[in-house]
């Protein structure tokens, strides 16, 4: 028993490797072929991102053990959860995972308290393995989620946000090694969704468990993802750190699924008069203040290539807030549109017409000014 606890503590400090190589064919020709090999650091979040029907949920359910692949292997840490060639299959009961579904799926005949403690075995070593948590870890989780005084209510008396918090607490209470979230915020109203995202992020970091989140919501992926796996048409198409994948999609199809935008890690340095100043490396960008963000916060600054204007000489006083000196790295033709790749302290693309390119006489190596309106700079706060 002591050995198990020590092992768990060891696992908690290091990243756990998740390997998925599975194949599942559905009647009608649809197939989900998943291939993933990622290290999940404690408290980190892997996002399975893609359009609806791409197969994200199928992959998540296979990791949970709720769905069997037709062929393939799934491994987590030192465990083999599935290996069809060796007829190996670990049912969900033995995987020590927590699952939160889109709907709260609370047990309607049990109180909130009994729901949360449903998976906690009496006499379990939850208290000892819960690193960084007090003597009653379940109560701590309840407090962190603000559901401490709902204990005697029944699920039918809860609001959507409360119910999903209880479902989250229930999944975390047995001290899972991996938390699986299947669009858990999708059915909530926007303010609740934002608040719960932040809380989940904080909880994971306190508890030290990694999580996998299925979502088709781009701002959600940006806000709480560390690593993203893009799933399109039943295949995992690209895996990597969120800002890398969003800024440098591997091909046009992925780019279309992600939304064509540069995603730049940035830090808020100040704000005044409805304009927020963020630093992207050494470059300062001005963004319209849509919501107050405290100075010092980490954000992603998102820029669309079609919102970037190129100038060769100053046009005098204009309303555009951002004027960045940039060097043209390359120019690629996309039909009547030309994609100009720039280096302005960070990599940035601009989409302009061929005629503009000819009039400006742009060529690789030329120096231009990239102008971007503050309203075109979208900030996504990071939790």
């Amino acid at each position: 028993m002591a050995e198990t606890a020590a092992l768990t503590a060891g696992e908690r400090r290091s990243a756990l490797r998740l390997r998925v190589a599975t194949e599942r064919r559905f009647p009608g020709g649809l197939a989900v072929i998943a291939s993933l090999d990622v290290a999940l650091a404690p408290g980190s979040m892997l996002v399975l991102f893609g359009p609806s029907g791409a197969g994200k949920t199928t992959i998540l359910r296979q990791i949970a053990g709720l769905e069997r692949p037709d062929a393939g292997t799934i491994g987590f840490g030192a465990d083999v959860w599935c290996d069809t060639a060796r007829q190996l299959w670990q049912p969900p009961q033995f995987r020590r995972i927590g699952v939160v579904f889109q709907e709260p799926t609370l047990f309607p005949h049990l109180t909130v308290r009994d729901n949360i403690r449903y998976g906690v075995r009496s006499g379990s070593d939850r208290g000892r393995t819960g690193v960084g948590i007090g003597s009653d870890p379940v109560a701590e989780i309840e407090t962190m989620l603000g559901i401490g005084d709902l204990g005697h209510r029944y699920p039918r008396a809860l609001s959507g946000g409360e119910a999903q918090r209880v479902a989250l607490a229930r999944a975390l209470a047995p001290d899972p090694r991996l938390l699986l979230l299947d669009e858990p915020f999708a059915s909530l109203d926007a303010p609740t969704r934002l608040r719960l995202r932040r809380e989940v992020r904080a909880l994971l970091q306190t508890l030290g468990a990694p999580a996998i989140l299925v979502t088709h919501d781009r701002s959600e992926a940006l806000a709480i993802g560390d690593t993203v796996a893009v799933v399109i048409g039943g295949r995992v198409r690209q895996v990597g750190p969120v800002s890398d994948v969003f800024s440098r999609p591997a091909d046009a199809e992925i780019a279309a699924a992600l939304g064509i935008e540069a995603v730049l890690p940035a830090r808020v340095v100040g704000s005044s008069g409805g304009v927020i100043e963020v630093a992207v490396g050494d470059v300062i960008l001005h963004a319209a203040e849509r919501e107050p963000i405290a100075p010092g916060s980490s954000v992603y600054a998102c820029l669309r290539a079609e919102d970037v204007t190129l100038e060769t000489r100053s046009a005098g006083q204009v309303s555009t807030r951002n004027h960045l000196v940039a060097r043209v790295v390359s120019i690629a033709s996309e039909g009547p549109i030309e994609r100009v790749s720039l280096d302005c302290g960070f990599a940035l693309d601009a989409l302009i017409t061929r005629r503009s390119r000819e009039e400006l006489a742009l060529a690789p190596g030329a120096t231009v000014t990239a102008a971007i309106k503050a309203t075109s700079v979208h900030l996504v706060p990071r939790f």
Binding site: I97, G98, V99, T105, H109
Partner: protein
Amino acid sequence: MDWTALWLSARLASATTLVLIAIGVPLAYWVVFSRARWKFLVEAVVALPLVLPPTVLGFYVLIAIGPLSPIGRAYARIAGHGLPFTFQGLLIASVLYSMPFAVQPFAAEFASVDRRLLEASWSLGVSRLGTFRRVVIPLSVRGLVTGIVLSFAHTLGEFGVVLMVGGNLPGVTRTVSISIYDSVQSLDYAAASQTSLLLLIVSFVILACTYSLQRSVWLKPRH
């Protein structure tokens, strides 16, 4: 009023119901959750008494438990007497006869439990059997009550099967419905009407209670 027959019917109905709970719950669980391909055959066999004339069922039970069958001979060797025309023989027949009235409501209710609740339970580390006990059973109270009441009431009113398997021995196999038949045969209409009325009232009260119980919210809280 034939109190002996009434008491016998009550005993038979209670015993049948208890046996059906013991057999019917696991059977219904299997029917709902098994992935066996030949499951439909079991379902069909369970439902047979709904369409089969009681005399046909009674006939086969009589043969099966009689001195010519291995089961009947084995029982006679152990118990010292045969099964036909005994309470035990009657119980076997009643259990088979009322089987669909227990298994079908049980199974329907088990199947109506939201599958996502089962998945939530499994992912929380609770075994399939534990999930059945802690989630499926508590959420199936209505179906369980319905099955139990229907088994009881159906056994109380059975006639053809009893006549075939039990015969008409006072205090042993003469149930209340046989007693009413006998009264009518001997033109004792007063006794027949008294017993009939009592049976009618008892059956009505049981069913009325069941349906009122099913209406109440506490049996199955919904969100």
